[in-house]
Symmetry: C2
Subunit: 647 residues, 2 copies
């Protein structure tokens, strides 16, 4: 059902921030309501990050009302909360195809609009990049205002903190808006979160209003310093004092907390704070999911949702949105992992699990419920998560670290030094490995094989299906060294898929033969879940009269030397992986093959299939695999080419 014209009357007239500036503050309030309806209408069809975006409608409108972000710079931390921003910066129509191949990205993207500064999807980057831009402005004699919008879950990330500690480098205006909704993707973890929430609980709506009034009354005017102003503000607002303590110790002028849904006040505050000639922080309270009851009630579900039924009644939140029905029937690698880890943890009390604000996404919800005293969510702190795991392993426990491939890039150095150099038995379960679909280039897991297979002591494995995921997990927990298990954001194949071959227990560095054909000139060697594509390709080739073997590599480090032996015997090898070709599984095979090139007279051809070295746009995962050439057609093509050039 398309949203009626009447319901987005004001929005229809807003095609750029300039149109916004023509409205009155009361009209902005109405516009916020229209944007919520518009957003719900679009996201219910496309899926997307809903709850956080519903929370920042007023904040975004107030920012665009006061600043001119064609010249001024607005930096979004993480970026998934930029929907209102996109809707009012000329991307209203494209927003209906959010995260679709022919539509716009779910994250800021400078390629889409001059209003976007950085294409980002990882947390904690806005303050640091804003520092750089502010210094750059000053050096070049420009005076555009800079605003970094950061959530309370991102501000505690290590990169954010490093940046806050260096904010003194900036000798000009830079406003940090701390959007405090007490929620990361899961409830925010850690001491700072507790500290914020303690303050929040002590604040009434009346307190927030008083704070706002006091800031506006005491804001520095010419001749008065901000230090004086802050002293005066503090004296008049007893309640606001504690929140400032952390930022004061970092020498950052702090204002707030104030109500993030009160557009009128926000407009006044931004006008006043824009005049400061040095960095400052404004602490704003917002409500994730604001204005949409089902989202307010189930924040985790509506953090990042698939399509769902809308309008919904005001009755309790629907049990499962549309995409959930599919998930109930098909099981994802994530589901299989989560369930099996619980089963293993029941038997082995030394198993503990660690995640970084991703207990739902990594399948740990059940584990958290069942073993709350063996579960650690450290918030958006991937580096510390791995170090804590190293300590747990050093003390004799069996830590399982659950982080998405793309975010594990934040832990590269910790895996190298604190885990692998000590040869500690930490099991890394890497979800969202490979292309991830609609989230696009910031979220693909296309480098984990490469950065991990360089690290000495690391074992790299990837299961092809459900039974292998279980076997890999059991194998991993039995190792006395670090091991990585990677799997995609995808459903597991049907239970019977390659069952016989894959049911064999995992042996370090040993592949399994899934399909063998007599005198076949070619073997397809797949790594991980793309065994499915490999088998599809093999079957199709056979129909064309070309018999090929299919080998499931299981390990990328150490690699089964048998694969190289086949090559040395003259067999053509086609490697297939859901990872970048550069430094990937096939690259490891090519490294080993290089040595054989000198020795062998009848060396077979080697062809590597995988994702090319470029940023892959948002689209469905199936389409991305197709377009990057990780599919049966491409395998067939490679096999045919190989045979024709061998003639």
């Amino acid at each position: 059902m398309e949203i009626s014209h009447e319901k987005v009357k004001l929005l229809n007239g807003v095609n750029s921030p300039d149109d916004l500036k023509k409205l009155s503050v009361p009209q902005l309030v109405d516009l916020a309501g229209e944007i919520r309806r518009f957003m719900l209408d679009a996201v219910s069809k496309t899926g997307g990050h809903l709850a956080s975006n519903l929370g920042v409608v007023e904040l975004t409108l107030a920012l665009h009302y006061v600043f001119d972000f064609k010249e001024d710079k607005l930096l979004w931390d993480v970026g998934h909360q930029c929907y209102t921003h996109k809707i009012i910066t000329g991307r209203k129509e494209a927003f209906r195809r959010l995260r679709q191949a022919d539509g716009i990205s779910g994250f800021p993207d400078p390629a889409e609009s001059v209003y976007d500064q950085f294409a980002v999807g990882h947390a904690g980057t806005a303050v640091a990049t804003a520092i750089g831009m502010a210094i750059g402005q000053l050096k070049q004699g420009k005076n555009d205002k800079i605003v970094a919008l950061v959530g309370d879950a991102s501000i505690v990330n290590g990169v954010s903190f490093e940046a806050l500690n260096n904010l003194g480098l900036v000798k000009r205006q830079l406003l940090i808006v701390l959007n405090d909704n007490s929620m990361a993707i899961d409830a925010t973890q850690g001491a700072v979160a507790k500290y914020f929430s303690k303050i929040r609980l002590s604040q009434t709506y009346e307190d927030l209003r008083k704070t706002t009034a006091n800031i506006l009354e005491h804001m520095p005017v010419i001749g008065k310093s901000v230090e004086e102003a802050i002293e005066r503000i503090k004296k008049s607002i007893r309640m606001a004092l504690p929140a400032s303590q952390m930022f004061e110790s970092l020498n950052i002028p702090y204002f707030g907390p104030v109500d993030g849904h009160d557009i009128g006040s926000l407009v006044q505050l931004f006008r006043a704070l824009a005049q400061l000639n040095h960095p400052a922080i404004l602490h704003v309270y917002t409500k994730k999911g604001e204005g949409f009851a089902p989202a307010e009630q189930d924040l985790s579900k509506f953090h990042s949702t698939g399509p769902f039924a809308w309008p919904v009644s005001r009755a309790p939140c629907p049990e499962r949105p549309a995409v959930g029905d599919e998930r109930r029937i098909k099981r994802s690698f994530t589901d299989v992992f989560g369930k099996h880890l619980v089963e293993l943890a029941e038997k082995d009390t030394s198993i503990v699990a660690i995640t970084s604000a991703m207990s739902d996404g990594t399948g740990l919800v059940e584990f958290r419920k069942r073993f709350s005293d063996r579960f650690y969510d450290v918030g958006i702190a991937e580096s510390a998560a791995v170090d804590i795991a190293a300590g747990l392993a050093r003390s004799g426990l069996k830590p399982v670290v659950c982080i998405y491939s793309t975010f594990l890039q934040r832990s590269f150095d910790q895996i190298f030094q604190e885990v692998a150099l000590q040869n500690l038995p930490v099991v890394f379960c890497i979800d969202r490995a490979g292309v991830v679909g609609e989230d696009g280039p910031t979220h693909h897991g296309l480098m984990d094989i490469g950065f991990l297979r360089m690290i000495p002591n690391m074992v790299l494995t990837a299961p092809a299906n459900e039974v292998e995921l279980k076997l890999a997990l059991e194998f991993g927990l039995g190792q006395d060294r670090p091991i990585v298990i990677r799997y995609p954001r995808d459903f597991v194949p049907a239970q019977k898929f390659a069952r016989a071959a894959c049911a064999k227990p995992f042996k370090l560095g040993k592949s399994v033969v899934v399909r063998r054909r007599k005198d076949s000139p070619i073997a397809i060697v797949s790594y991980g879940s793309v065994l499915k594509e490999a088998l599809e390709g093999a079957r199709a080739l056979e129909k064309d009269g070309i018999a090929v073997d299919v080998i499931n590599a299981r390990f990328a480090a150490p690699i089964d030397e048998k694969i190289i032996s086949l090559l040395a015997e003259g067999k053509g090898i086609i490697t297939v992986e859901d990872h970048q070709l550069t430094c990937g599984f096939g690259s490891a095979v090519a490294e080993m093959a290089a040595a054989k090139m000198a020795d062998s007279k009848k060396l077979g051809a080697l062809r590597l299939l995988g994702v090319p070295r470029r940023f892959i746009k948002h689209d469905s995962r199936a389409m991305q695999l197709m377009q990057t050439g990780v599919n049966a057609d491409k395998i067939m093509e490679a096999a045919r080419e190989m045979l024709s050039s061998a003639k």
Copy 2:
């Protein structure tokens, strides 16, 4: 001159912490003096991290006097300040061969001693790993005490902060000793450092004594909570209050500041604090270089020093220690880079430089002096450094990021998302790429080619000599995309070395032929400074009647396809690099060669030479290159093998 027996009388009797415990506190004071003499004697011969170790003699003795670190766990952050710890934990004799092949590591190493928990050399890890160990202890019903010793430069690192924010996970004893000497390798940067130093300046020696007395008087006894105790301590010490603010906002009980050279007080404090059943922080003031005038006067020089003359007179610090004389004659890649960047920055005011507490090590001292307003040292914060650079580039400046290869591992995700995804022109100058010698496995730069060449848009280049380093820098600053220039901790070859071939301007993805021989069956293709080894090998082979070409690849991404053409024409290729074989330059050549294997009937052999995938022990860089097979002998061997199997 060997240190006389008389001067280390007490130390002679200390072969383990048990021996220490037999001494009285006044004897410990004398022992501290003996250890300083012993340390100076050894380090003056071997080189090492001197100043920081002189600062923590009393602190280390007091810790070992109170705790039993055979059972209790002592975690060193960074770890280069563990010399006293090594000397008193059974490694006194081995300490004389510190950082030598046949001696002990300059960092903690569990392989050396049960008293070492983690082999570490990167900052910011101790609090996080201590959290893991504390949880592990609790879960397993153990009650060993855990102490994390962290410097003021490390505590502000992002990983440290993420850990401090998660300290609430620990429901038992965990003592963090904050060793505040106001110095990172350079003077500590950032807001926290300013905050600490402001407090420090306001504290007299008398204040510290009073604080100590107050802590001891009010320490919680059974029935009294730590919160009460802290309240009472605060009431009685006005001066100590501000330092606690930052830690209080993180809900961490804070004690201090106290004098880190007063063994008697430290012993009492540790005894009291060991009784707490939850995490706490003790803030200790120490003096880097304490007890050795030259080090106290030139902290930067004696942070990590080569051998030097000792005993020295009490006269001013010698202009250059022994190793410096050599450096004055031979110039390092670092020197050449630093000087040339200054020359370029004089002409181009948009050039700015960023480093992470390494302005000396990366050759930026002169730049900092000349262009202090275009120089940014962010402290030990590699992640934020790269993001700030991204912001600077986005605003139109030309940032040059100077970080050691090993520490750049901390910036992997930032280079990927905030720089490369935006295709921003940031120039990364990666010093200490390759094996680094005496610092050992935590400090080698053996993974940068791999993790960087995976990232789309990145250009990877490595100069072979002085002229190429200058050309690469000029080329890099002219690019409109991110570029990496890697070079080793080594001297540049003589001026005339390969001068003609290397004087050609850099062209994207183009190699240069350094030596061509008619009908040569083999080409040696080197990447970076190992051109020296490649040419040595080629000359030696020629003496044996084997003519080989030598190609200087210059780029690892994009790779010159000409190299692959040679292979396709049947020429044997030997790649040489000062990087791990896994995912390295040769691996990139092998990836490209794989495609050719299907097409070419007369494909040449390919042999990759580089560092094997294992942790490389401390030794001289020359020996490490020799042992890992990156040298002329190995090249000759590979060429001979290639020719014999081709027959």
